[in-house]
């Protein structure tokens, strides 16, 4: 008599609310690594905007009677070869890098996403050509290629943004391309094609929203690389020449004095860079995990 029950089609399957149904930002806030990374990042953004008000001293004021003084109560991080307060310079020094790197990464991500959509959707010659280009770019560390162009073009905020953005473009495109190829297999695209939608509409209205998670992860990862590149260029002496201090340029100016024992003027900006890249990495890592589910 239990037959009827046993053969009844199991059509009612309770749908349990999954983790994915929570908004992404709530999932992110549950992760300690994201919260720590975001807090450090926020700290540096506040410093970049309000640095001059927070800094205990004028970061540009020279005090020729107090050159290369070690950390003390008056100067927590000591003073540099021109007698400037290292703490104040570290606080204000986040500005340049936090202006250049997000813009450069944004440029590379936008161009790369458009290119990747086209590569994945059309395939063929375009795909083959850009793939070769990606391999050629990847045959060198990005820092070296960016370095070559910056040496040739000179370093200004605009040059750095454009060069880094262009170098990132094929790299982002490659990642987006592989996501698009997965989407191409799905039914909604055949439907769109049968409805007579034009390629541009299919790429940007139908496919793009579905590859956005990939794009977001790619952006956060690239941002880390951009900071790496900009800081490295500044260290090599090809940073942006502005009146505001920058961590990399300060290190470039003072690392020669390490052997003389004046470690504070190099170490503190270096630790600032380390904290920023680690913060971005924590944010990128947790975003990746949340997006991947």
């Amino acid at each position: 008599m239990t037959d009827a029950v046993a053969t009844a089609p199991a059509e009612i399957v309770p749908v349990l609310p999954t983790r994915r149904e929570l908004p992404i930002w709530r999932l992110l806030l549950r992760r300690p690594s994201f919260v720590i990374g975001a807090a450090i990042l926020l700290f540096w953004i506040v410093c970049a905007i309000f640095g001059n008000a927070i800094a205990p001293h004028d970061p540009l004021a020279q005090d020729l009677l107090r050159l290369n003084k070690p950390p003390s109560a008056a100067h927590w991080f000591g003073t540099d070869p021109l007698g400037r307060d290292v703490l104040s310079r570290v606080i204000v020094g986040s500005r340049t890098i936090l202006i250049v790197t997000p813009l450069a990464t944004l440029l590379g991500t936008v161009l790369g996403t458009a290119l990747g959509l086209a590569m994945g959707y059309f395939g063929g010659l375009l795909d083959a050509l850009v793939s070769r280009l990606v391999e050629a770019v990847l045959a060198l560390p990005a820092v070296i290629i960016i370095f070559m162009f910056v040496v040739a073009l000179g370093s200004s905020v605009r040059t750095l943004i454009i060069v880094i953005g262009f170098i990132f473009t094929p790299l982002v495109a490659r990642t987006v391309r592989s996501s698009v190829q997965v989407e191409r297999q799905l039914d909604y695209l055949s439907s769109a094609r049968l409805l007579g939608e034009r390629p541009a509409r299919i790429m940007f209205v139908e496919i793009l929203p579905n590859v956005i998670p990939t794009v977001v992860v790619e952006f956060t990862v690239r941002l880390g690389y951009a900071i790496f590149a900009v800081a490295t260029l500044a260290f090599l002496g090809f940073g942006v020449q502005l009146s505001t201090p920058s961590w990399g340029s300060d290190i470039n100016a003072s690392y020669g004095l390490l052997g003389a024992g004046y470690w504070w003027e190099t170490l503190f900006p270096a630790l600032a860079i380390a904290s920023l890249v680690i913060a971005i990495n924590l944010v990128a890592d947790s975003t990746q995990q949340v997006v991947a589910g």
């Binding site: 690594s33 070769r132 280009l133 391999e135 050629a136 770019v137 045959a139 060198l140 560390p141 820092v143 070296i144 290629i145 370095f147 070559m148 162009f149 040496v151 040739a152 073009l153 000179g154 880390g224 690389y225 790496f228 800081a231 490295t232 260290f235 090599l236 002496g237 090809f238 290190i251 690392y255 390490l258 052997g259 024992g261 470690w263 190099t266 170490l267 270096a270 630790l271 860079i273 380390a274 890249v277 680690i278 971005i280 990495n281 924590l282 890592d285």
Partner: protein, 317 residues
């Protein structure tokens, strides 16, 4: 296998050619002209013209590119603006120095990275796994000069146990050279640890979940035997590829470390050429790094190919 090799080699040559285009044109977009850069602002315009003609930079770009490329194919990488002599001896000497530094870094990092990755995988999902993974990926994103400065401050300035430059001086013994290379190797090790550990971890996790690992466990083998005989042999294949790929990266990453530690390698050479606007030297140096990278990647592919019998039966296409 022959067809695969040919195809792989063909692609490598195309990539190198594109790289040569990028490198050449990056060197050409500089404003001003090389002779002016060499002779300085006070030189007479006629002298500048004469030197430009002598350097061959007043010819059309395509002609210049073809003659540069032709020279490369004959092993002639150009003539340095700064030293007024062929660049090859400089490149060769620098490459040998860089190879020593890179070799030391690799000897340390390969076992360390693999060990880290395998330990993380065996503790998959636990705190130790998160710790190793996050440390690795964080260390990989910290620029080499930052970690370099930290180790200089600790070991060179505070503890005074190791020299803060890498130049051991001519004719130094093996152990003296080694002592001078320890600090410069640390930033390289830190950057590579994350990549190698990540690959070793991913490979090990995949192997742990495989049917053959379960079979081996179920037939009563000890865990240590399962790991050593069945898991590691399979999980380390992708890691080998990454190690070879990173060898190319390692040579490129040297630009910062060698500048920081004042070590006369290929990175320092490129840096000095760039500051002096010595474009033939810069182009030759960057292209050399590209070639080293291509060779390393190719070697990795061949090694994976010969280590993994499954790839030999079709499947490669």
């Amino acid at each position: 296998m022959g067809r695969y090799l040919l195809r792989r080699l063909g692609l490598a040559i195309v990539t190198l050619w594109i790289l040569s285009l990028i490198v050449f044109f990056a060197g050409q977009i500089l404003p001003g002209n090389p002779a002016r850069a060499i002779l300085g602002n006070l030189a007479a315009p006629s002298a500048v013209r004469a030197l430009n003609h002598q350097l061959g930079v007043d010819r059309p770009l395509v002609t210049q590119y073809l003659s540069w490329l032709g020279g490369l194919l004959h092993g002639n990488m150009g003539k340095s603006y700064t030293y007024q002599s062929a660049v090859e001896p400089f490149i060769r000497a620098a490459l040998i120095n860089s190879a020593k530094l890179a070799a030391l870094a690799l000897v340390v990092i390969v076992p360390l990275g693999i060990l880290g990755g395998v330990i993380a995988a065996l503790n998959y999902g636990r705190a130790l796994d998160r710790l190793i993974s996050l440390t690795g990926s964080s260390a990989a994103t910290v620029p080499e000069f930052v970690s370099g400065i930290v180790v200089i401050v600790i070991f060179g300035v505070t503890l005074k146990v190791l020299p803060v430059t890498a130049a051991a001086g001519a004719g130094a013994s093996f152990f003296t050279q080694l002592k001078y290379l320890i600090l410069p190797a640390v930033p390289l090790v830190l950057v590579l640890f994350g990549y190698i550990a990540r690959m070793a971890r991913a490979g090990t996790i995949e192997a742990l979940e495989s049917d053959y690992a379960r079979t081996a466990t179920l037939k009563g083998l000890k865990r240590s035997v399962v790991i050593r005989r069945h898991i590691l042999r399979n999980s380390l294949l992708p890691t080998i590829t990454v190690i070879a790929t990173q060898t190319g990266y390692l040579i490129g990453g040297l630009i910062v470390v060698e500048t920081l530690f004042n070590y006369q390698g290929i990175g320092k050479l490129i840096f000095s050429a760039a500051t002096a606007k010595d474009f033939p030297m810069l182009e030759a140096g960057v292209l050399t790094i590209g070639v080293v990278y291509m060779v390393a990647t190719l070697a990795a592919d061949l090694l994976t190919f010969s280590l993994n019998p499954r790839l030999r039966v079709g499947g490669m296409e």
